[in-house]
């Protein structure tokens, strides 16, 4: 009992501090996002601003308002950035790890070289790559070393977009994708014989697909078509981000590869598995938990990305915009504090969506132990 009291007393200060400075401020931010702070310039920076409760108005405006087209492009940018950044870092990291796992000469040297970019901050990485991606220098003159004509790709300044779609179709596409994923989950549950999960996945997937087939195609968020797509100016940013973080995934994978018991590999060899089959059926499945951890870390870095883009393309260039940058612009340049707070909450939800399931699964594992 005394131990418990001591423990509580020791923990209390940090509990209170975290309660106020983390959760209290999140709560305050949430409240601000439901107000009209900034809409009226006379109140925006007043000593005691009079705030009016407007509910979800700020969120509605961000997703369907006439002037917030830049926010919507920034969301699309974030999704593509996250996808390609994670795929690139994981793929390249795995490749490097497998290469190093063969035990080449000078392994320690290469390990340091590949891991080194991670020691830099994103601002430094951004500055370096900004130089490398100059229109008339860096990467673009590489082919001339081989006697070829220089490239002319405007890495960070192009306005070209691919995979362009109409923002109005977004709910429809989302419903299709989520619905199909749920059906897949249901199928897996069916094979594993988990009846309850099968039921719920089937039900919610079915409802979503039904909605997509009937009402979904007629939903319009905006009264006019608004094209958005994967902005090619992001390719340079993704390159730089992958360069920075693939060393980290390499280190994780290398540790994982070294941790695989020799017996397992020998057993595979005895069974007559080719190296490729060994990787496909033995090694990669064993690395799955590492991939998951890496995805969590990379995922939340990607969702919060700000400094890299700040250093590479600046704040004002919409084709490389992400919500974090737009939030800064809205709140600290445009005095639209409520809308900025709303974007902050949306980012928090996104990051929570990545991190909380992971924490929950980790916790469950620990309890099982």
């Amino acid at each position: 009992m005394r131990d418990r009291i001591t423990a509580l007393l020791v923990l209390l200060p940090s509990l209170v501090a975290v309660g106020i400075f983390v959760y209290g401020f999140i709560g305050q931010n949430l409240w601000v996002s439901f107000t009209d702070w900034g809409k009226n310039p006379a109140q925006a920076l007043a000593l005691r601003p009079e705030l009016q409760f407007v509910g979800l108005e700020n969120y509605r405006e961000l997703f369907t308002g006439f002037v917030e087209t830049r926010f919507r492009q920034s969301v699309i940018n974030l999704v593509f950035f996250t996808l390609f950044f994670m795929a690139g870092s994981l793929g390249l990291g795995l490749l490097l790890a497998v290469a190093l796992d063969q035990g080449p000469r000078g392994e320690g040297f290469f390990r340091t070289v590949f891991l080194f970019p991670m020691a830099l901050s994103f601002v430094v990485t951004g500055t370096i790559w900004r130089w490398l991606l100059q229109p008339q220098g860096g990467v673009n003159v590489l082919p001339t070393l081989l006697g070829l004509p220089p490239l002319a790709f405007p890495w960070l300044t192009t306005r070209e977009q691919v995979l362009v779609f109409d923002w109005n179709r977004l709910p429809l596409y989302t419903a299709w994708v989520v619905g199909l994923v749920l059906l897949y989950v249901a199928w897996r549950a069916h094979r594993e014989g988990e009846k309850r999960r099968r039921f719920w996945a089937l039900l919610s997937g079915g409802v979503l697909l039904l909605w997509a087939l009937t009402v979904g195609s007629r939903v319009h968020l905006l009264p006019y078509p608004e094209p958005h797509g994967f902005s090619l100016a992001l390719v340079g940013v993704i390159l730089a981000a992958v360069w920075q973080m693939s060393g980290y995934t390499m280190a994780l994978y290398l540790a994982g590869l070294r941790g695989i018991p020799v017996e397992v590999l020998e057993a595979a060899k005895v069974d007559g598995a080719s190296p490729w089959q060994t990787y496909r059926h033995v090694i990669l499945p064993l690395l799955a938990p590492i991939t998951l951890s890496a995805m969590i870390v990379l995922g939340h870095i990607a969702l919060k990305i700000f400094d890299l883009i700040f250093a590479m393309a600046g704040l004002d260039y919409a084709p490389t915009d992400v919500p974090a940058i737009y939030m800064y612009l809205l709140a600290f340049r445009g005095n639209q504090f409520a809308k900025g707070a709303a974007i902050g909450i949306l980012l928090l939800l996104l990051v929570a969506g990545v991190v909380i399931p992971y924490l929950a699964s980790q916790l469950r594992k620990e309890v099982r132990r």
Binding site: L45, Y317, L329
Partner: protein
């Protein structure tokens, strides 16, 4: 022992004096602009040797970082004694409407500044019967820069209207110059837009845009975007990656014929690149705007609750004085806001700008904070993006009007 006591007494006495006399000046003048501010501070120290001046500079072009720091300080109840701000709506629409500034009309009367500054400028810094900041310098926004030797080589003259500009552009393109107009990142594109708009709308139309009498969706205002689109076709495609200096470099190196930029470009070419104004490089009002001086100005105000009010008032007196302005501006590469400053202290460009400042019609710049509040300006960048992405004049005009309605422009 007595010596020690004496020394301690001295230190205590001095620090007590310093305690009563502090002045914190908040600005974004670092780097090339730092010496001008320091000269002004030296002058202040000569007059008030017992005041400790704290130079609180936050670096970053056009104050992008400084303004964010200032906002957190003001919201946190810790205003600097005086802060740099673009004269006009950038100050008024943000801080004056929020009741955070002191009215300086009394100071203007006392110092006779109502006569010393031109009326167009006084109008821009006035709002609801008050005058809200003391302008220290004037820059001109609507200037076109070129290299006379290059133009002779190409056989073209500096165009005087945008129509002429477009045909000159065609001529130059035929002669193999891919991008006759050098352009830089987002804000310099807005800078170009305001020169086009001023030319097409005229001074009155331009002013009406900001007092709400002319809608952005008016056919005349939509036509601005159409012309702007054609002008952009004359510019380099990698604009977004260039700073304004790099855009000027293109003109200097002969990769482009013209650049529309504020007159800090003159400072860059004269001081950094060591070119002689008037011979090595030359200038003209941007096409279609001769006789109009589109100005922007750095100024200082007095926030309510400033800790050292008297020292700040003395600082503002210095900032607005002839001596203060003629100390500051030749170093900064701008001209004095006062009409009575000494031309002998300025270079050829400065003298020509001073002549125009006295004789031209004065209007305010959008991009540099004179005519629209921050809440509009920062979102105007989005309007520009909408246009650059869609190339649709009507869409851009609609977006601009929507933002104008949202922030209550002209009300």
């Amino acid at each position: 022992m007595r010596k020690w006591l004496w020394a301690i007494g001295m230190v205590l006495g001095l620090s007590a004096l310093a305690q009563t006399g502090k002045l914190e000046i908040f600005s974004w003048w670092a780097g090339d602009e730092g010496p001008a501010l320091e000269a002004l501070i030296r002058l202040y120290k000569q007059r008030y040797p017992n005041v400790e001046v704290i130079n609180a500079t936050v670096t970053g072009g056009a104050g992008v970082n400084a303004k964010a720091v200032l906002k957190t300080r003001m919201l946190g109840g810790d205003p600097p004694d005086s802060f740099q701000v673009h004269a006009g709506m950038e100050l008024i629409g943000t801080w004056v409407v929020a009741d955070r500034m002191e009215d300086l009309t009394g100071l203007f009367r006392q110092e006779g500044w109502l006569q010393a500054f031109p009326k167009g400028l006084i109008d821009l810094i006035s709002y609801k019967g008050g005058i809200w900041s003391v302008p220290v310098n004037i820059h001109r926004s609507n200037v076109m820069w070129y290299i006379p030797a290059k133009l002779r080589e190409w056989g073209v003259n500096p165009p005087r209207t945008w129509a002429e500009f477009l045909s000159t552009c065609e001529t130059l393109k035929r002669k193999g110059l891919q991008a006759p107009l050098a352009l830089g990142e987002n804000w310099t594109q807005q800078h170009l837009w305001e020169s086009v708009a001023l030319a097409l709308l005229g001074a009155d139309g331009w002013n009406n845009l900001w007092n709400g009498k002319l809608k952005f969706t008016d056919p005349k205002a939509v036509a601005v975007w159409e012309t702007f689109g054609k002008v952009l076709d004359c510019a380099n495609k990698d604009a977004a990656g260039l700073s304004w200096q790099q855009a000027v470099d293109r003109v200097v190196q002969g990769q482009a014929a013209f650049n529309i930029m504020g007159d800090w470009a003159a400072g860059y070419m004269a001081t950094t690149l060591k070119l002689r104004p008037g011979t090595d490089f030359a200038w003209a009002p941007s096409p279609g705007t001769s006789g109009i001086f589109m100005m922007l100005s750095d100024s200082f105000g007095l926030p309510k609750g400033a800790k050292n009010r008297q020292n700040t008032l003395n600082w503002l007196r210095l900032v607005g004085s002839k001596e203060g302005q003629d100390t500051f501006n030749p170093l900064k590469g701008s001209i004095a806001a006062r009409l009575d400053s000494d031309p002998a202290k300025y270079n050829a460009y400065g003298q020509s700008a001073m002549k125009d400042w006295k004789s031209n019609r004065i209007v305010g710049s959008l991009v540099h904070g004179a005519v629209a509040p921050e809440s509009f300006m920062s979102q105007f960048g989005t309007v520009m993006e909408i246009f650059l992405q869609s190339k649709n004049p009507q869409a851009a005009a609609n977006a601009a009007q929507a933002i104008a309605n949202q922030v209550g422009l002209g009300r």
